[in-house]
């Protein structure tokens, strides 16, 4: 009968609300001592490893809302899979499993030391450790690392989820390399493997962050003989401390200790539990209940508890003491489309900068616990961040007079435009509503349009032609760095050459030659301090252009169950706990 349709609607809506959030890894947490701290234990895991223990045995249960893009290390772009995959896939380098600042440190993993750049900075050499084996006992060679990079970066039709930094950075063959699936005989000449433990990467131009780049799971070895393309996720060969016992697509995965993993080849992994379970498609409220009851140890997505659980926890000092409120290494911002009139005029963009009441936006995002008010593009925890505010307003509450002056300078009395937000993100829509109300006061009429988040960057906000056709001048956005440096954060969002017809992240379509040049300068500069200064300068230039309105520096709010050991909130993975050594206390 027709009336049952509404029931189906509700069920679908519930499912739609559960769609996963997040983009990629990043950033450190520094001072996340939250506002009204109750109980000594709050934020403990942002400073130290909590419940540190070497106790073996037990089961560690991970639960997640939705499903991951893929557990295949060569086919993922989520910070939580970058984090989780290290249990079964060892990249050349990885982040130190530690809390706070220490978590941002890069350590060699499959490689025995960090990369050796050549004098001209154009080639990087890594030596693998001795005695590395897969879970089936066969030895791991540098050729498998080379193959892993080829399959993850040169076959976008098969492994489409991950970024393709290697593709963009490595020297291509004279006839462009078509990837290992199409070109079964050939290979990428710019990755050399002179012997089974050495691998050399040849770059098009010097790239100072290369050690960070190889920390991506894309460098975790994959034996070519075992690679079944998109189906590889069903039979992943393990190089880490755990191996797959079972995997059910969209439901669950079970990991057990990898008996061929040798502690002597691995200074950072502990191999504590007897079993690691990953349960997918669990409702966030259920995950929270399981965490509180000790039935689950970790929320894999690591975005923090549901608003209701958050309120319950905050009202109970005992529970509050077991939480971590860390920076998620992410900026929540409003991108102003510099290609849609009248925002092609910098004065009109400044009017928006001055008009927005950031306190109202912060409240709509869920209050200080969910983010600190932002005035720069670089979050405070990315090296190179400088504190400045080009568009100061009293208490960050917006300034109508200044906004109207800017509007006048732009030659406008009022503006009609469209403000886009992602349907599934309720707080993003609420923040858009706050922005709309503030803009209305100065004569800017922004009509809110919601688009599904799964296609936000491919079909709507991230498709410049679409924004042009639909008069989308303002876009709600969040951005997290792919690795915690200024380059990893800024390049995709402000480099004019990163603008794409679809899947664009430079939503403002800023293409400023001086910004582009600074990005190039920083990439080739071998001096860390000099690089960081340049990133601060880029930030200032972008803010002068007024194309991004920083709203808040995103924070996660995690519950820390007693039943889990070795919990450390790491800035390298968006404030999530480091998943490498979590054990069961039971």
């Amino acid at each position: 009968m027709r009336r049952s349709r509404t029931v189906a609607l509700t069920a679908m809506a519930a499912a739609a609300v559960l769609v996963v959030t997040g983009c990629s890894s990043s950033s450190k947490s520094g001072d996340s001592s939250s506002s009204s701290a109750a109980g000594a234990g709050a934020d403990a895991a942002t400073k130290n490893i909590v419940n540190a223990s070497d106790k073996k045995g037990g089961t560690v249960t991970f639960e997640m809302k939705g499903t991951p893009d893929s557990l295949d290390p060569g086919n993922t772009y989520y910070a939580y899979i970058y984090n989780f995959s290290r249990l079964y896939a060892r990249p050349l380098t990885t982040f130190n499993p530690a809390a706070g600042e220490d978590g941002n440190k890069l350590v060699p993993d499959l490689a025995e030391s960090m990369g050796q750049p050549s004098a001209d900075g154009l080639s990087w050499t890594y030596k693998l450790r001795k005695g590395l084996k897969y879970d089936d006992g066969t030895p791991i060679t540098s050729k498998d690392v080379k193959y892993a990079v080829e399959r993850s970066n040169f076959a976008p039709d098969v492994n489409s989820n991950g970024p393709t930094y290697f593709h963009d950075l490595l020297v291509d063959n004279p006839t462009p390399y078509a990837g290992p699936y199409k070109d079964k005989e050939g290979d990428l000449k710019s990755i050399e493997t002179p012997d089974d433990t050495t691998i050399v990467f040849h770059l098009q131009h010097p790239f100072a962050d290369f050690d960070y780049l190889v920390s991506a799971p894309q460098t975790a070895p994959v034996p070519q003989a075992k690679d079944t393309g998109a189906d590889y996720v069903k039979h992943i060969v393990s190089s880490g401390s755990f191996k797959f016992e079972s995997y059910e697509d969209g439901k669950q995965a079970t990991l057990v200790p990898n008996t061929n993993w040798d502690k002597s080849t691995d200074p950072i992994r502990k191999q504590l539990p007897d079993k690691i379970q990953l349960k997918m498609n669990i409702d966030q409220a259920t995950i929270d209940k399981d965490l509180l009851a000790g039935n689950a140890q970790v929320d894999l997505v690591g975005g923090g508890v549901d608003p209701q659980t958050q309120a319950q926890i905050l009202q109970n000092p005992k529970l509050k003491a077991k939480t971590d409120n860390a920076y998620g290494g992410r900026l929540v911002y409003l991108a102003i489309n510099s290609k849609v009139a009248p925002f092609d005029n910098v004065e009109c963009r400044k009017a928006v900068q001055f008009a927005i009441d950031k306190v109202s936006v912060q409240t709509a995002e869920g209050g200080p616990i969910r983010g600190q008010i932002a005035n720069t593009v670089l979050p405070p925890d990315i090296p190179g961040h400088q504190d400045f505010n080009l568009y100061e307003t009293k208490d960050n509450k917006g300034d109508e007079a200044k906004a109207k002056d800017a509007l006048k300078a732009c030659g406008k009395d009022g503006i009609n435009t469209v403000l886009s937000a992602r349907t599934e993100r309720a707080t993003e829509v609420a923040a858009a509503t706050s922005i709309q109300a503030a803009l209305k006061k100065v004569g800017i009429n922004a009509e809110i349009q919601q688009y599904p988040q799964g296609k936000y960057l491919t079909d709507s906000a991230g498709a410049p032609q679409f924004t042009q056709d639909h008069n989308i001048g303002l876009m709600m956005m969040q951005w997290g760095a792919d690795w915690p440096t200024g380059y990893g954060f800024l390049q995709q969002v402000v480099d004019g050459r990163a603008i794409k017809a679809s899947g664009n992240s430079n939503l403002s379509q800023l293409n400023d030659p001086s910004v582009n040049k600074l990005i190039d300068d920083a990439a080739v500069n071998p001096d860390k301090a000099a690089r960081e200064k340049i990133y601060g300068d880029i930030d200032k230039k972008v803010m002068e252009q007024a194309v991004i309105v920083p709203l808040t520096y995103f924070k996660v709010f995690l519950y820390r169950p007693d039943s889990a050991t070795n919990l450390a909130s790491t800035p390298a993975f968006s404030g999530e706990y480091d998943y490498l050594n979590i054990g069961s206390a039971k």
């Binding site: 609607l9 679908m12 809506a13 309120a311 209050g367 309720a426 109300a437 349009q449 919601q450 599904p452």
Partner: protein, 329 residues
């Protein structure tokens, strides 16, 4: 055309025998139905509530401007930012200024938003019902009267529409038409899209009912009489048959309206209906779901509004059906 045939449609039913003392009066079908309807207390109550709701919807804007209410005004000073933006105080921030409380994150007055949401929800539901009834009636009556290949064609089209994955299509069309179409944008566009999507795909239900009724009516004497007097197709369809179909159409409409209100709420719930900040009952409900444990009051407000409206229309519809067509019981 002969004028005499027009009365044929209103042939009075034999009046029930009253007491011999009373003066015998001829009563029309409508009068009889009205008497029956009045006896049904639940239906009358439903009818009163429906009238009040329609008044509320029509007067929503004047009421707001009279009392200086702004459904989109933010009162974030009434929220506890450190608790994630929940309303301060008990019962979702109920106070004299905000009798039903305010919503989390934004602090907008819920009473004002429910009033504002009423005209959106009712207008969409009425518009969609009107659209599907118009299409359904015209095509249904033609299929029923003409029969043959006309009937086959229309019936197959109905089957196609019934088999259509309506919800998916609704989501697709609502998404693709966002941002401006047909010279419209913003709220008028969203409402028009909703009316179209809900109305255009629901006509076969009405079509089938009308077709069925027409099939039995076309064999009745007054139709034969009209035809033998030389009346042509369109005249018989709309002057002879249609007046006799008003009953079922009316009844079905009152039952369709609440379904459409729920459908509108559902689409807004999925984010493809009315866009924020415009208040709509479905949109409010969607928002409230996330706070059902810590701020249940928020969910109760739009939930109750939808519940009362749907119940009132259903009671009215059931009452009308019993009154107009007592045999169906």
């Amino acid at each position: 055309m002969t004028a005499s045939v027009t009365t044929a449609g209103n042939e009075p039913e034999a009046a029930a025998p009253d007491g011999p003392a009373k003066k015998i009066e001829g009563r029309s079908l409508g009068q009889i139905a009205w008497t029956r309807f009045k006896r049904d207390k639940a239906a009358v109550a439903g009818g009163v509530v429906v009238i009040l709701l329609i008044l509320l919807a029509v007067l929503a804007k004047p009421i707001e401007s009279l009392f200086g209410l702004d459904p989109d005004a933010l009162h974030q000073d009434l929220l506890d930012a450190n608790l994630g933006g929940l309303p301060l105080g008990d019962w979702g921030g109920m106070s004299l200024d905000h009798p039903l409380g305010v919503d989390p994150l934004q602090g907008r007055d819920l009473l004002t938003r429910v009033i504002e949401g009423s005209w959106v929800s009712l207008l969409v539901a009425f518009g969609a019902t009107l659209l599907s009834n118009t299409i359904g009636t015209v095509l249904g009556i033609m299929a029923g009267y003409y029969g043959g290949w006309v009937d086959t064609l229309i019936s197959r089209v109905m089957d196609v529409f019934l088999a259509f994955p309506l919800l998916l299509f609704a989501i697709a069309i609502s998404t693709s038409l966002q941002g401006g179409a047909f010279g419209l944008h913003g709220l008028p566009l969203h409402m028009m899209v909703l009316i179209f999507v809900i109305g255009f795909f629901n006509w076969p239900y009405m079509g089938r009912i009308v077709r069925g009724q027409t099939l039995s009516l076309r064999e009745r004497e007054f139709v034969h009489a009209a035809r033998s007097l030389g009346a042509r197709g369109p005249f018989i369809l709309f002057k002879e048959l249609l007046p006799n179909l008003v009953g079922p159409i009316l009844v079905y409409s009152t039952l369709l309206i609440p379904t459409n209100i729920l459908f509108e709420a559902g689409l807004s719930f999925l984010g493809v209906g009315i866009q924020p900040p415009q208040a709509s009952w479905g949109g409010m409900l969607q928002d409230a779901i996330r706070y059902y444990q810590v701020d249940p009051q928020y969910m109760v407000v739009p939930g109750l509004a939808i519940f009362i409206t749907v119940l009132a229309f259903n009671l009215l519809g059931d009452g009308l059906r019993d009154a107009l067509d007592p045999k169906s019981n």
